[in-house]
Symmetry: C2
């Protein structure tokens, strides 16, 4: 049975039943959804089959989970509280109904855990790959965290390790497969943990809200295209340079390091981490280390526009800006 066997109305009914109602004033089923009055931050992120994932790599629940997580990470980077989801799916006829259901279950599992209600979207057939395009609205209660606003002297932090997802991607491309994907807290089998990490960015909604509400961060962004590239963007927006301490960089422990230099370079290029990179005025840095479990100071913003990696023995290397480019061939 392929997805074409279920018509649009039946898919809408399936999704509505799975998800239940939200506290939107007008939810799915009308031409638009009406949000409760307030201050909102919107983010949107799309996963495409053949570009961002292949169906044979992992169960569909993992793909849906990752699609939701990518949007949640953007909201966290702004310090917003996730609230409402628009879900667009374009489904090729050949994709089995069960696969699409699995994607929706993955989106929902993480969405519901984060308090997100489904309020609308768009369903379409696709003549090519599966398209999953999500738009999230978050309540912006505190002033938003921006990429700009960092000052020379501010301490740079990462919310989690880097390098894991990029390494997992290389494994998928050379035949690695994730057999199962659980929504609960049960850890994946050790040999599957790195592949699992690709689909399971860390939850950091609370961290983003804390940084915004307590005014701890001078600037913040989601690292999704590699630390080198995203650091360059933050430095440009803030009009600063940066110094990164190589020995402070949290390499993903799942990498099982063999060639440390190589791993470091890969991790700097990285991609898909969806961890937060943020700067903190020096006087607040120790407060951040106490209040925000798991974050790691990796360096600092400096005057100028150069970004430098400080290696053991005070060897200094310029960091180029090339991370992952969505249009690079």
């Amino acid at each position: 049975v392929t997805s074409a066997a279920r018509d649009e109305a039946a898919w809408i009914a399936f999704i509505a039943h799975l998800w239940g109602t939200s506290d939107a004033k007008v939810g799915p089923g009308d031409d638009g959804c009406v949000l409760p009055s307030g201050s909102y931050t919107l983010t949107t992120d799309t996963l495409l089959e053949g570009v961002d994932f292949e169906r044979e790599w992992a169960p569909p629940q993992a793909v849906g989970y990752k699609a939701m997580a990518a949007n949640l990470s953007d909201l966290a980077a702004m310090g917003a509280t996730p609230r409402f989801l628009l879900m667009t799916l374009a489904v090729p006829e050949a994709v089995p109904e069960k696969y699409v259901e699995g994607v929706v279950e993955g989106i929902r599992a993480l969405g519901v855990a984060e308090g997100v209600g489904l309020v609308g979207g768009d369903l379409s057939s696709s003549k090519s790959g599966l398209v999953i395009s999500l738009t999230l609205a978050g309540a912006q209660e505190a002033a938003p965290l921006l990429r700009s606003g960092g000052k020379p002297g501010d301490v740079l932090f990462l919310s989690g390790p880097i390098g894991g997802p990029a390494a997992a991607l290389r494994r998928f491309q050379s035949g690695g497969r994730l057999g199962t994907f659980e929504f609960g807290t049960r850890p994946p089998a050790p040999e599957q943990a790195l592949l699992d990490r690709f689909y399971r960015p860390p939850g950091q909604t609370g961290l983003g809200i804390r940084l915004a509400s307590d005014r701890l961060a001078s600037c913040c962004m989601d690292v999704s295209d590699g630390l080198m590239k995203d650091l360059a963007r933050m430095c440009e927006a803030s009009g600063c340079g940066a110094e990164i301490e190589a020995r402070s960089l949290p390499l993903d422990p799942l990498l099982g390091v063999q060639d440390e230099d190589r791993e470091l370079e890969n991790a700097l290029r990285g991609g898909e981490e969806q961890v937060l990179l943020f700067a903190v005025p020096r006087r607040l840095a120790s407060e951040v280390e106490v209040k925000c479990a798991g974050v790691r100071a990796i360096g600092r913003l400096v005057e100028g526009d150069r970004r430098v990696l400080v290696l053991p023995g005070d060897r200094r290397e310029e960091l180029p800006a090339n991370g992952f480019d969505h249009f690079a061939s």
Copy 2:
């Protein structure tokens, strides 16, 4: 030169330059956009190459224009004022840069004319067709117009003629091509007018706002999947049946009617019109006809759940619900 020659940053710069700034608190360039505080209605609609359009049918400006118009029509159906756009494009490497620029120009031309600011989005490569997915936020100043709320006795109106876009689609599928697409008010060449209509739904933002602010409509929706199907949806949401007068149905004058019965049936199945279907309490019907230029009364809501077409000589035919289904093969 294909789109892959321009990297992501260059595309973002091109789009930002083309569009200029909006009055969002935080616009494009951060991980999310922050809207001014208020009451918003969100809509989203996606056009896919190979499903909703083929590149050879028309200039790219037409495709972009239609993508924006489809979303505007949903906001109009809610009575919202268009304000902010998230634009997601997934572009295959083989699509020329000029084509993508044209799509963006089309989105922008209509967006700017309607007061819409670009605040964010997502850019990606695509391994298959071009994907254009837009999300619009509209200011919801009056109570939203819904599909529910219609009552037996209410007069049914259409905001414009039907049947044109479906006929144009048949022409495209049998080799018809739209040579040029203008943003201004200059009408297309007569032999191109029907093909042009496919990409140019009528502007009805003002009508939607008027219906909502003056509380003229008891229910309203955008007809995009064919009148038969969308009428069935409205009747179900409102718990009513309907009687439609065949001789009152506004067939698109561009059709150049030859076989009237056939044209009527095609128009009822229709699709892609993006005109408004709305019901008005009988005591307000004449006020609507005065205040809302170009609308046409086509029948009324009735008790029960049957939808009936009243033909000349009081011949009555049951209207089935089958219009265009996005998953029908």
